[in-house]
């Protein structure tokens, strides 16, 4: 990140007059003192290190007091609408104040994609520094996941999911109706460890299909994704019907034809499983010869192999 903006990122600094200071104080009168301090420093020096404090301070001012504690966790995955109760109109109020404080203009189209606190912070930093904007976090309900995934129920273990450039998150609630729970185990339904690993693998597939892999415009062909290996898989908690799994994966290496991820599963605050490495093979669409439609059935991640790896 640029430390002194007018040196490294070329932001022209305008003089910060006493009038500007008075306007800034008035604009931020309902924000914390720290927000004003950060904003004044930014306006004087152009130092973009102050931006997160300014943006968070402005968001906080519009969050109902009983929800403000959530912002203290500085969790960039906090969702603006669902977690903070901010609707699109309040989002506009936030934008107007940000525009006023940072002396910038944000258009409506740019706003539509900002779903998390992290999205907003990244967006403002890129705007101020003149950097290209990253693709925002994409939130996918189950219907949308099913429409892009080669894996389908009853073997799909992702509920809602979110995907951005840095990884993917998903939830899966163990309903108790999963067919394999009848026998795993007798009178004692427990989610198989192999299925936990499968679910992480499926989230990695979703990332390859929906995330930003390779250069812009290149699309991963879903028929080319298969499991190859995994390392360092450990289970910490037995998962049973009613548990909601919070799955997350992050890419470690992405270079066609291999993609390696680290993954973990939590249930609430409890660690359920981790995988240090899950590796899939994949290819881009234009690298694949177009086969006849029925030539190759849509594959799942090769669950058999992953199961073997877990059991090994």
């Amino acid at each position: 990140m640029a430390h002194v903006a007018n040196n490294s990122s070329g932001i022209p600094l305008k003089t910060f007059t006493a009038d500007d200071d008075a306007n800034l104080r008035e604009a931020l009168k309902r924000c914390s003192a720290a927000t004003y301090e950060a904003a004044a420093q930014f306006r004087k020096t152009g130092n973009t290190e102050h931006l997160p404090a300014i943006v968070l301070g402005i968001i906080e001012r519009y969050v109902e007091p009983d929800l403000r504690a959530k912002l203290k966790d500085t969790d960039d995955d906090l969702r603006i609408i669902e977690d903070l109760g901010i609707d699109s109109l309040t989002m506009m109020e936030i934008v107007i104040l940000v525009e006023d404080v940072l002396q910038m203009t944000i258009n409506n189209e740019e706003l539509r994609h900002l779903r998390t606190v992290g999205d907003v912070k990244t967006f403002i930093e890129c705007k101020v520094s003149g950097l290209p904007l990253p693709k925002p976090t994409k939130f996918m309900p189950i219907e949308q996941i099913m429409s892009v995934m080669p894996i389908q129920p009853p073997f799909l273990f992702l509920g809602e999911a979110s995907v951005n450039a840095h990884g993917a998150n998903a939830k899966y609630k163990i309903s108790g109706q999963e067919f394999f729970l009848q026998g795993h185990f007798k009178d004692n339904p427990v989610l198989p460890a192999s299925i936990m690993l499968e679910a992480l693998g499926q989230l990695a597939v979703l990332f390859l299909l929906e995330g930003q892999v390779g250069e812009a415009g290149r699309v991963v062909d879903h028929r080319t994704i298969f499991f190859t290996s995994c390392e360092g898989v450990r289970c910490h908690r037995v998962c049973k019907p009613g548990d909601v799994l919070s799955l997350s994966i992050k890419p470690k290496r992405l270079k066609s034809p291999l993609a390696t991820f680290e993954g973990q599963i939590r249930v609430g605050q409890e660690k359920a499983a981790i995988a240090e490495e899950i590796t899939l093979t994949f290819a881009f669409a234009e690298e694949v010869a177009q086969p006849a439609p029925e030539a190759q059935p849509a594959p799942a991640t090769t669950a058999g192999q992953s199961q073997a790896a877990v059991n090994a």
Binding site: E64, D87, L89, I96, E99
Partner: protein, 420 residues
Amino acid sequence: MRKVYITGVGFITSIGNDAIAVTESLRELRHGMVQYPPFQKPEVPVKVAAPIKDFQTATTDAEDWIFPARYNIRRETLRGMAPHGIYAYCAMLQAVEDAKLTEADWSNPDTGLYAASAGSPFLLGYHLERMRKLGVMRCPPLGIVASISGTVNFNLVSQFKIKGASTGFSSACASSAHALGFAYDEIARGRQNRMFVIGAEDGNVESILPFAGMRALSLQTDPAIASRPFDVARDGFVGTGGATVLVLESEEEVQRRGPKVYCEVAGWGQASDGYNVAISHPEGHGLRLAITNALKYSDTTAEQVDYVNAHATSTPIGDISEARALKSIFGQSPTRPAVSSTKALTGHGLSLAGAMEAGFCALAMKEGFMPGSAHITKLDPACEGLNIIRATLPHRPNVVLSNSSGFGGANVVLVFKGAN
């Protein structure tokens, strides 16, 4: 046609911020006028207004507003509201409590809401000035819904999750009387079981002072005599704001729920002067026809009417035309009916007036009194022949009319009857 009853009231007015305070002011003829601080400047010829007490809504930033501690209003509710939106919201809370309604009672397809206000010239002016100075993209996103006419129904329908009929009415000083009349129709015709009727106004510099331009405001400096309808020395009206909410319910709902009943809404009538954009017909032709219609549609004879809550705003022309209309209906009877204008106490609430005065009639019928026409030192000779009561009478009226007249010569007359 089904019978319709008033079962709940809520008031934020210049003479009290709940039904108990308002009843006391009406009985004791206590007025709400003051030398209004924003008018005390050499360039402002008007000095007196009847503001709302215990609320501070003078800044354009709703988060600065102060209201009585019993009302806890969240920012997301506040941000879409004008000052009179807050008054209406608080009066609505009073009304649902008074009628002993639960959310299940009011949030359903059989319950609607009709409202009237002139919008908020105060906020509209501020937002337009901001748009011109800073550009449209720096205007608050809810500036429009907070300031245009309709703001009361937009806000309350969404905040109270109203599912039935909703709209706003715009006939200036007859607006909320129209709202009540059409709300009555919805229930009487079986389309709705319950209706909220709301009249509200900011009652601040921007909503009152422009009437000085048309020479309609009193220039009196003494708050005790500035508003004196039917007095020979009256010189214009005194502006006010606030809100009134009335709950109207069908007889089936009254039987089912068993709430207390203020009175029956027996019917209404309207007619227009077709005469002048801002001046009432000198002989009161439109109002006379509106009274005739109201009596006809409520199966009432002129002889049955006990009390008329007059529109009389304390303007020289308007009061006389109303007096002529009343005389043409009730003849030269010195004893019946009793006539008074409660605007002597409240000032003129513009779009609020019809609902507020209907609420006063409901209180009078439930508590058993007729409020006097205050501040008359010498009755205008043109009003002689009417039984204009100078003091409050301790009798329960059984048949009551409430008159309202608005710009363009719109006249509305509401008829209320004892609930028994």
